[in-house]
């Protein structure tokens, strides 16, 4: 995975945007790499002029790419042009009263968090990793542990600068709600976001007050989540997918809120807004077969046992929000074939699908290395935005077990039948008919998309695989 240092402020003398180079690109799951011309514009203004102009000649379209943390093929465009936003790193001043700032599309949540914490501002929505760009956060309309309280990311965005084949638009929920919300969760297919105006959340400290509960079965865990959601801004549960029978769906529930300065022990009070530690890097040579049913079961058992129920523990927000960042390249652990993440959401009335999903994967003999359960609050207006009120389960699944693909196809049917959907930012294997059933507002999305991109220049491997744009370039 090519990874470049992040620019965090205005650059010095702007160099000319480099010539595109052919690169094989894959998502975080490292499945299905494809090759595209990769170009990293130096300036936000270059995107419309030189990049989209050059892409117009490409028969196979163009898509933006941030840090490549989409698990599947959302930020790939085989045979076309991929625009790396790494140089769009501007971070404007934060309004001290409102917490609003302008930020370049290539800025990572990590950089934004570090800058924000200096004056007591935290991210409005934070996924399990900070290694996500603002552009990616908007394209996937990402959610976090506070979805039940605060909605998804784009609810905290008041405008975006969107470079489309028909021009550059300043789009806000007021001046063009259709285009704004189509862009929120639109997987980059309405244009290339070059910058956005984001509202941060005021915090006194970078510490969280966390309650952890151990639950011995799924019903108890889900009841626990419903209960803590009424009390805490942040909640999430980790599920032991290896446990079966009466222990099926046992897990650990974390509920947290931002801690005030007065709650910190004396030694922390000197630096209440200390930034998170940087992640470790794993050696890239991993013994094959490291992740197998035995090691996964042993890990899950140990994880479940090590965490007793306790209340009021102080945890740094880095560890609480971004456990995935402890090892920066953890995706290598799955070896050559990579892994998929299956994340779905179902309405409250269909909560039974959560347990059913775990059982189906157990029957298929597919070990699940990480399973995260969460309740979603009310949905946001984006026609392709993933969260719907109800439950979401995210499962990390190494590619390899012979029955995994067909088990997931079966699950697609169950999820679609339950009025649920699969998260496109994680997807690497859904099929067009299921996708269309899961996202019934697709036509509405395409109506807006066609307005700004009548030629269908914006394309991605994801869009081609799922037939998102009705007349895709090949």
């Amino acid at each position: 995975m090519p990874k470049a240092p992040r620019a965090t402020g205005p650059k010095g003398a702007p160099a000319k945007t480099q010539e595109p180079e052919e690169h094989a690109l894959s998502g975080w799951g490292r499945t299905s790499p494809t090759t595209a011309a990769l170009i990293a514009p130096d300036e936000e203004a270059d995107i419309f002029g030189s990049v989209l102009g050059a892409a117009a000649g490409s028969r196979r379209g163009v898509i933006a790419r941030g840090l490549g943390r989409s698990y599947g093929d959302a930020a790939q465009c085989a045979g076309g042009v991929v625009v790396d936003t790494k140089n769009l790193g501007r971070i404007g001043p934060i309004d001290p009263d409102t917490g609003v700032l302008d930020v370049g599309a290539g800025v990572s949540l990590d950089s934004l968090l570090r800058v924000g914490l200096q004056s007591g501002w935290f991210l409005p929505v934070s996924p399990g990793t900070r290694q996500v760009t603002i552009g990616g956060a908007i394209a996937a309309d990402i959610h976090g542990k506070n979805h039940h309280a605060d909605g998804s990311f784009c609810r905290h965005v008041s405008s975006v600068t969107l470079a489309t084949p028909t021009g550059v638009h300043e789009v806000s929920p007021d001046n063009d709600p259709e285009l704004f919300w189509a862009t929120a969760g639109g997987m980059g297919l309405t244009g290339i976001v070059t910058s956005a105006r984001v509202s941060m959340r005021k915090v006194e400290t970078s510490w969280m007050r966390v309650d952890t509960e151990r639950h011995d079965d799924l019903d108890s865990l889900m009841e626990g989540l419903e209960r803590v959601d009424r009390l805490s801004r942040y909640s999430v549960a980790w599920v032991d997918c290896g446990a079966a029978g009466s222990k099926l769906g046992r897990g650990l529930l974390d509920a947290g809120d931002h801690a005030g300065v007065s709650e910190l022990p004396a030694k922390r009070k000197d630096d209440p807004l200390a930034p998170p530690r940087r992640g470790l890097k794993m050696p890239s040579l991993v013994p094959p077969g490291l992740v197998n049913p035995l090691t996964v079961a042993a890990f899950n058992e140990a994880w479940f046992r090590k965490s007793p129920s306790r209340t009021g523990r102080l945890r740094h927000l880095g560890g609480f929000f971004h456990p995935l960042d402890a090892v920066s390249n953890w995706n290598l652990v799955f070896g050559r074939r990579g892994f998929v993440q299956y994340q779905f959401a179902v309405p409250d009335a269909q909560r039974g699908v959560v347990g059913q999903a775990i059982e189906i994967l157990q029957e298929a003999g597919a070990p699940c290395t990480l399973a995260v359960l969460k309740r979603f609050g009310p949905e946001d207006p984006g026609p392709l935005s993933f969260p719907i009120p109800g439950w979401t389960l995210a499962l990390d699944l190494p590619v390899g077990p012979p029955g995994l693909r067909s088990a997931l196809r079966r699950l697609d049917g169950i999820v679609a039948g339950a009025g649920g959907r699969v998260y496109l930012a994680k997807d690497a294997r859904l099929e067009p008919t299921r996708f269309a059933a899961m996202y019934p507002r697709l036509d509405e999305f395409n109506l807006v998309r066609r307005r700004v991109d009548p030629e269908g220049m914006l394309q991605s491997d994801l869009a081609r695989r799922l037939g998102i744009c009705e007349d895709p370039r090949p």
């Binding site: 094989a24 499945t31 081609r464």
Partner: protein, 253 residues
Amino acid sequence: MNDAFGHPDSVLVFGGTSDIARALVRALIADGSTRVVLAGRDPAALAAAAAEATEAGAGFVDTVAFDAGDVDRAETVVDSGFSALGRVDLVVMAVGLLVDDEDAERDPVQVARCVTVNFTWPAAALSRVAHHLAAQGSGRVVVLSSVAGVRVRRSNYIYGSAKAGLDAYARTLNQTLAGSGATVTVVRPGFVRSKMTAGRRVPPLSTTPEAVARDIVKALEDGTEVVWSPRKLQGLFLLLGLVPEPLWRRLPM
């Protein structure tokens, strides 16, 4: 596009009427492939294979008629397959012709025909396929080689040596495609009980078109470069490769 399990949506098959190709197409459609173009020689057999693909549930099925003896048209045939599908996720090269060596070895025309169909035409077509896939930045190729080409036996040497050429060509083509987004998988089936081998003596470790198809689907998921079908043949041919030539030529095979 190919999904995370190496499973294609659109499939282009050369030699689409062969039993292995038909079994593979049925398996792929059952697992979700929706668009298929079958290229083959015999229009009636092509129509039957196409009907079978439609029956299996493919949403789009088309055919291209060609003769693998006509090397000059290889490029045109490949181009028409690609233009029918727009984007091709998987190309299957299953063109092949088995000849009876006792009849063929004294007949230069038959020798040339066998080498052309098993090696020259597929190689020419694959070079054009590689061009298209590199432009697409994606795509997989499955080339049906044979254990007959791994260590060529006297009883089957015309076919075997043509397959040996194709096997080497396809594996090296895979190297040239590194970084392009396209990859080539070489499949080496043993004796397959099919219409191609009808009437021949069935040796041990023989297999079926359906079993070869399953091994290919699994190899696409695993990213295996060389597939032995059945897998036991790999060990057997490792041993056969060690047999000294003076002994080899006396073996009754």
